[in-house]
Subunit: 341 residues, 4 copies
Amino acid sequence: MIIVLKPNTSKEQLILFKASLEEKYNVTVNTWVGVESTVLGLIGDTTQIDEDWISAQEIVESVKRVQEPYKKANRKFHPDNTVIELPTGQKIGDGNLCIMAGPCSVESEEQINYVAERVKSAGAAFLRGGAFKPRTSPYSFQGLKSEGLDLLKGARKATGLPIVTEIMSSAHIDMFEGIDIIQVGARNMQNFELLKQLGKIDKPILLKRGLANTIEEWIMSAEYIMAGGNNKVILCERGIRTYETATRNTLDLSAVPVVKKLCHLPVIVDPSHATGKSWLVEQMSLAAVAAGADGLMIEVHNDPKHALSDGAQSLTPDKFDEVARKVFALKKAYDEIMSNG
Amino acid sequence: MIIVLKPNTSKEQLILFKASLEEKYNVTVNTWVGVESTVLGLIGDTTQIDEDWISAQEIVESVKRVQEPYKKANRKFHPDNTVIELPTGQKIGDGNLCIMAGPCSVESEEQINYVAERVKSAGAAFLRGGAFKPRTSPYSFQGLKSEGLDLLKGARKATGLPIVTEIMSSAHIDMFEGIDIIQVGARNMQNFELLKQLGKIDKPILLKRGLANTIEEWIMSAEYIMAGGNNKVILCERGIRTYETATRNTLDLSAVPVVKKLCHLPVIVDPSHATGKSWLVEQMSLAAVAAGADGLMIEVHNDPKHALSDGAQSLTPDKFDEVARKVFALKKAYDEIMSNG
Amino acid sequence: MIIVLKPNTSKEQLILFKASLEEKYNVTVNTWVGVESTVLGLIGDTTQIDEDWISAQEIVESVKRVQEPYKKANRKFHPDNTVIELPTGQKIGDGNLCIMAGPCSVESEEQINYVAERVKSAGAAFLRGGAFKPRTSPYSFQGLKSEGLDLLKGARKATGLPIVTEIMSSAHIDMFEGIDIIQVGARNMQNFELLKQLGKIDKPILLKRGLANTIEEWIMSAEYIMAGGNNKVILCERGIRTYETATRNTLDLSAVPVVKKLCHLPVIVDPSHATGKSWLVEQMSLAAVAAGADGLMIEVHNDPKHALSDGAQSLTPDKFDEVARKVFALKKAYDEIMSNG
Amino acid sequence: MIIVLKPNTSKEQLILFKASLEEKYNVTVNTWVGVESTVLGLIGDTTQIDEDWISAQEIVESVKRVQEPYKKANRKFHPDNTVIELPTGQKIGDGNLCIMAGPCSVESEEQINYVAERVKSAGAAFLRGGAFKPRTSPYSFQGLKSEGLDLLKGARKATGLPIVTEIMSSAHIDMFEGIDIIQVGARNMQNFELLKQLGKIDKPILLKRGLANTIEEWIMSAEYIMAGGNNKVILCERGIRTYETATRNTLDLSAVPVVKKLCHLPVIVDPSHATGKSWLVEQMSLAAVAAGADGLMIEVHNDPKHALSDGAQSLTPDKFDEVARKVFALKKAYDEIMSNG
């Protein structure tokens, strides 16, 4: 961490400030006195240093981190890719393309079982489906809740596909015991109390990027989970909010290679929520594969025009067959191209 | 709600769609057949209609809401300003400028009592202070938690100032029983489970605008609380995330008159979090008054440079004296000017 | 165009308004009178109707376009892809991947000739290079100007590669006579006087998307050029401005399929300016191919660390060889996958 | 400027890089060698140093400016406020509130003369009106052009009000000789060729902030004009583009005190374009005064519902009378409050 002091800082202020830094944060402080300004360089573990506290000091002009503020999620300290393996053997981040597919909302046994069969036969490795639904309006369908979780488990039993579903409150954690992967939605990415609770359990967490969150904040939310002891975090890019209205959100595919450089966790992409339009899902799925994503999360509904939520962005099972065929083919070509350097 | 159908919609499709709308949503559907497109107009209570569902229909070109999607928060159905009154008599939204001031975090008894005395003598009507702190990093100070709540109550006892403090999880609601106003932070504005729980209690809720949330989404989150039966919601604009980096966030003061046109709830402004810089607080507080805000939430710390969080944006008690004096004077002038039409 | 009138509109106001619409814009107006509101539907060519004018009418609640505001660029009226062909035979938009590569700035004869040879041998179809440089600071290198144009022509002569270079003022158009493709930079996307002048010449125009411009505004700027008579417009996505700071801009790859649905012009992608980081160029080039782009614009510099501008995002010729090899291989695989449907 | 080098930088690389910096930019380079990284501090005039060039160096980890990249516009080197005085005596930035008012577009002699009389009698110091109109659509009204300039001069003759009008191309500069203040619109804020030409003339330039431009970029565009020798620049905040759609743009009032801290030029605010809605103009004008603005630019039209452009945001002359009365009254109160400190 580099701290630039104001030009008029006195010698006494400098000595006191250095002493307080060394004591408070257990770092070594090097000083470089220039003509117009004095610069301090902090050596040691600076992840716990509060930039706000530094900035608030009267003598400080500006602060600059050299190290990232995260440790456990940082690729520097964990150069290998994290591969997340389920007790049932499925892997995420092992180089294969992992597809999680299913309806936005679980609606009925018939629906979820049918969709599960179809996405399985198309090559999906996981069944996704919402039981607790975050909806902008209190008057919209809020999900089947615990009944929805049971239906998901039924579909798992029928197909063998492990299930991914969203949690909306730390008060619900017990209900999610039988779930394979717990999803944290974009709106809860900085629900820190929830993240802390998820850090205490031993189950993969799929952490979606918040609508207005930087990549650094996103990795910091993964760090929250990991700081609690749970290292099984999967990151999911799902579009950020911009001024553009032609798509629901703006899919930030450059986030995939950026996260992979900074962090060792797997990164998947959700083109359905990112674009909000079913006709864009195929193209953006292909683009996500070529951007290096470890997987895709895609909404598939037996009957999108009767879906209780987000029908506009869901694929039919037939269209999903086609998309899956294309993305697996592109992934194969991509891997060959990349391995030939 | 206006629905534009695709040019090639058949008569049969039209009849079926109209019937399903009338049945599903209990609305009357008027049809207007043009040369290039057919337009449907839905009459009745359309707040419960799911735009996503409409958009997903094969024959639908586009949808446009004419009515706002909120009812209880809607000024159309509640033309008078809501005035929120505490059992202890303080009012918010009654035409007076209500200032809530205090430290970002409660740090000690001495600190909170001293700041409480100072902000009270400067004219603040409420003491604010964080006991549970949402922090981007798991390694930053997370607040004194229940101990912090007790210290706030102590400061209330000493000064008579009612207290405002942030809740971070619905699991904590019981702990907040003795708190006067419960704050929902920007990062939890769409923590719908928390909003639902807060709808069930009888206590004012201060709802901060999310960093990337539209005014409509913000009012919809108020609607969540109100739909549960709690009409005591205070909205707080605290800056939105944009590309500008000179300030922490971009304070959207036009949100004040826009919300006041659409909604009958009181609106206050937090210039401290919006700008992130103590030297901007005075100027933006004055601007907020002239934008028509019902109140201000301002961070005041006895010793900003030793504050455990957000010191960079806190005022000293002496500076707060000056700011309060100026904003009350401007409010007085503003009221005179506005009442003379 | 659908116009929703305010509930309290009188019969007289309605009649007058309809008459003024029909007279002013030569459209037919259909009226649909509902219980709570009256809706007007305008039939005819509405591209010339000014939404601002409509919105300003006292009796208007809101306006909604059903048709896009552009005609010449609209795929509805021109279903086939536009293929732009140069007199020297090169084509853009014909299904092949067209790569335009070269340095940000032309710096010397030796430099531009060397880079031209290298990008040609790697498979680039065009040489790009800046002679007039838009720079945020007046103290930064502003380009070699007309000398730079001459050096580009020299490199064309040496290699046969047609050249693409940026114009910054309509006053310079004469100087660009010998240039093959004239580029309009992101900062000039809404320099309407320049667009009008470029509409009068017979030469392909590469129109970059503005940093804060919607896809609709971007196509409208193409329409400006086309309205003047020049239909040879190539669109180039180069990242939009968001709150994310890990990349220089946020590359909006979903813009590629969205533009292709709305508009018949070729779309290329510039991953160099979009990301601002050379290590991201390969990955985002591959993603752009899989998003369906017609081409790529890539910065290549013989010696990025001595480049006079934008060195941080330039590839070395050796790295460009590798990137080109990979993107052509991926394009081949992509085409096979897509043609097998 | 502080440059952090990569951990593995060799001694030779360090020596060569320092030498190249000192030679290229005529600065002194101080070195501070830490355990994990080496930091360079550059002393001297760093405004001409290209951050891109620095970042492109292989051994550079990151760069941080300590000094602002602008000189002539920098308050550090010019602590007093710049007051711009016209030959006819009007001043901007002298502590009084300067109002520029008039129609978006000049439409006829009768219109402009009538509006000019009305805004004059309400207290406006300048008449604004567009003769060259930047319009998103080529099919929208583009302004009366030189005829419009003549009408403006006629209105000036009739009322004595100096005139402010927008230029759209450096090719038009000669036509603007008789204009008092030349406006550069938001879309041309980084039309650097135009800025350079305006730097050569001796006339105040009103520079609007671009829709997606940071405050630093805005001041840099002022620096372009000043670098050419013309120091008479007035900055105008007019809203930035964000995701919010309730207003046309988001008015960034915190930009007023931020610019005033960094820069000595006058800053005015345009609430009409910022909000796009006439009913928000009064409230945001008052807020702008309380934010410390030196002036306001307000659209006034004799008949907004028949205006040829931007009618939705124009005030009637009667409403403008009221707004002007209120803002002058608030300005008076504000000045008294601020001078009593």
